[in-house]
């Protein structure tokens, strides 16, 4: 009751009382305690620089009490601010105790006044900013912009080394074979097998194996060795496959082969 009376004492005129009630109704519309303080400060009708922080603190505390009385739920930060303002009020009213730590009541009050003034300044700034001529409303950009077309030009390049390597690659491609394949003086068993398969059909009688060695391979010793060995291996293959018969009369005697007679 007493607290309510305090609040009533603060509210002087009917219009201010109505404003205060409007504040309560709008309590959710405030953006926090600082916003509320700034609004309350307007009732002082003075420059924010000469505002009475003590009076403002009392207004705020009265407001909070009133809201509590009307069972309006207040967010925690409103109550934190109320507690802090009550503290500030006591600091401002009572002389500081000797040896007390922390900032003085005046310093705290000055900073609160600064905060309020700064917030107001930012609101004024925001209003001035929004009142400026704006693009798309008051002044306009080009309606038909001619976009920059990005042309991507690709240039190709090569070095002399690329060129020479390229040429070397082509000119050596034909020559390039794995080393093992390089057998100018070798007669492979596969070659001999191919050759003998073609010839064996005509050999009904025993024929010396050496006579199968192709022309041009009999004279050069290296070639003859290679061809003979290949043909011998091939004849063993053919005998194993049952295509021919093979015989040797004596050690180091000539090897003879013939087609296997049809059964």
């Amino acid at each position: 009751m007493a607290e309510e009376q305090d609040f009533q004492a603060d509210v002087v005129s009917v219009s201010e009382r109505m404003a205060a009630e409007a504040l309560i109704v709008d309590v959710d519309g405030f953006e926090g305690p600082l916003d509320l303080l700034l609004t309350l400060s307007r009732t002082q009708k003075v420059d924010l620089r000469t505002i009475s922080v003590l009076e403002l603190a009392e207004q705020y505390l009265g407001f909070i009490e009133k809201a509590r009385h009307l069972r309006i739920e207040l967010a925690a930060d409103y109550l934190v601010m109320a507690a802090w303002l009550a503290f500030l009020k006591s600091r401002l009213l009572l002389p500081p105790e000797p040896g007390e730590e922390g900032p003085s009541g005046e310093e705290l009050a000055a900073h609160l006044a600064f905060q309020l003034e700064r917030l107001q300044a930012m609101r004024d700034g925001a209003a001035k900013l929004m009142a400026r001529d704006q693009l798309g409303r008051d002044f306009f950009a080009r309606g038909i912009p001619e976009d920059v077309t990005r042309v991507r030009r690709v240039t190709y390049t090569a070095t002399l080394l690329d060129l020479m390597q390229g040429y070397a690659r082509i000119r050596t491609k034909d020559e390039f074979r794995p080393f093992v394949m390089d057998r100018e003086s070798l007669y492979t068993m596969e070659q001999a097998l191919d050759r003998m398969r073609g010839l064996i059909g005509f050999a009904g009688d025993w024929t010396e194996l050496t006579s199968y060695v192709p022309e041009g391979w009999e004279t050069d010793p290296a070639k003859r060795r290679s061809a003979t060995a290949a043909h011998f291996a091939a004849s063993l293959e053919l005998a194993k496959a049952g295509a021919i018969e093979i015989r040797q009369g004596d050690t180091f005697a000539p090897i003879q082969i013939r087609r296997k007679p049809d059964e």
């Binding site: 953006e31 926090g32 305690p33 600082l34 916003d35 930060d77 934190v80 601010m81 802090w84 503290f87 922390g102 900032p103 310093e107 705290l108 900073h111 609160l112 600064f114 905060q115 003034e117 700064r118 917030l119 300044a121 930012m122 609101r123 004024d124 700034g125 925001a126 001035k128 900013l129 929004m130 400026r132 001529d133 704006q134 693009l135 798309g136 409303r137 008051d138 002044f139 306009f140 950009a141 080009r142 309606g143 912009p145 001619e146 976009d147 920059v148």
Partner: protein
């Protein structure tokens, strides 16, 4: 091929006449809806051109005309004269209505930049919702600035070229009432004398130099 090379070589020594350079700047600025930086102009003009000088001439030429050459940060654009806005109802773009919180946040960023979120909250006395910042970023009116070299290295916010363009500002220095605010000490970031309630009292220590970094010249 050879001719082109020759031309380019010659142009290293001889730039087109200033009248021609002015035409080029005029054409490029007219063609673009966005402001064009001097270096972009320069790169599109022949070697040896002086875009900055051509701009001086061009700007003078359009004084008092229906469109004018305006500076937007370090870029240039052609915009219609604001007094003729009433003719352009058809072109008017409906901008998204900004909340009071968004407008205030924008104002705080523009006057205090580079500014951290904690500093914005300290000024407004309430926490800044993520949506508000996101909206302003999405509108390309604010962007992240350098991180503050304080504990936690918080990000800062600064306004963009798009912001300057939208509000017809040559630079953030031309914000209305900036000088008065500064001389009244309202752009200083004063640390609260302890024991002050704040939305994020633990982050308050970050408030340091504030806008001075940007506006001091």
């Amino acid at each position: 091929m050879n001719d082109v090379e020759q031309d380019q070589e010659e142009s290293l020594f001889e730039a087109p006449p200033m009248g021609e350079q002015e035409r080029m700047v005029e054409a490029v600025l007219f063609a673009s809806a966005e402001p064009v930086t001097v270096s972009e102009l320069q790169s599109r003009m022949p070697h040896g051109s002086d875009a900055a000088e051509a701009l001086v001439y061009l700007r003078k030429r359009y004084e008092g005309r229906g469109v004018s050459v305006v500076k937007v940060g370090d870029a240039w654009a052609i915009r219609t004269a604001p007094d003729l806005g009433y003719l352009m109802q058809k072109e008017t773009v409906e901008t998204r209505k900004l909340s009071r919180a968004a407008i205030e946040t924008l104002a705080i960023i523009s006057y205090h930049q580079p500014v951290t979120r904690a500093e914005i909250e300290e000024i407004r006395g309430v926490s800044v919702s993520r949506g508000t910042v996101d909206q302003l970023i999405e509108m390309e009116w604010i962007r992240f600035g350098r991180r503050r070299m304080t504990p936690g290295r918080p990000v800062t916010f600064v306004v963009t070229q798009g912001f300057l363009d939208h509000f017809g500002l040559e630079s953030a220095r031309d914000l209305p009432g900036l000088k008065e605010l500064r001389s009244a000490g309202l752009l200083e970031s004063r640390p609260p004398p302890g024991l002050m309630p704040g939305p994020d009292s633990d982050e308050e220590e970050e408030s340091t130099e504030g806008q001075s970094e940007l506006f001091e010249d």
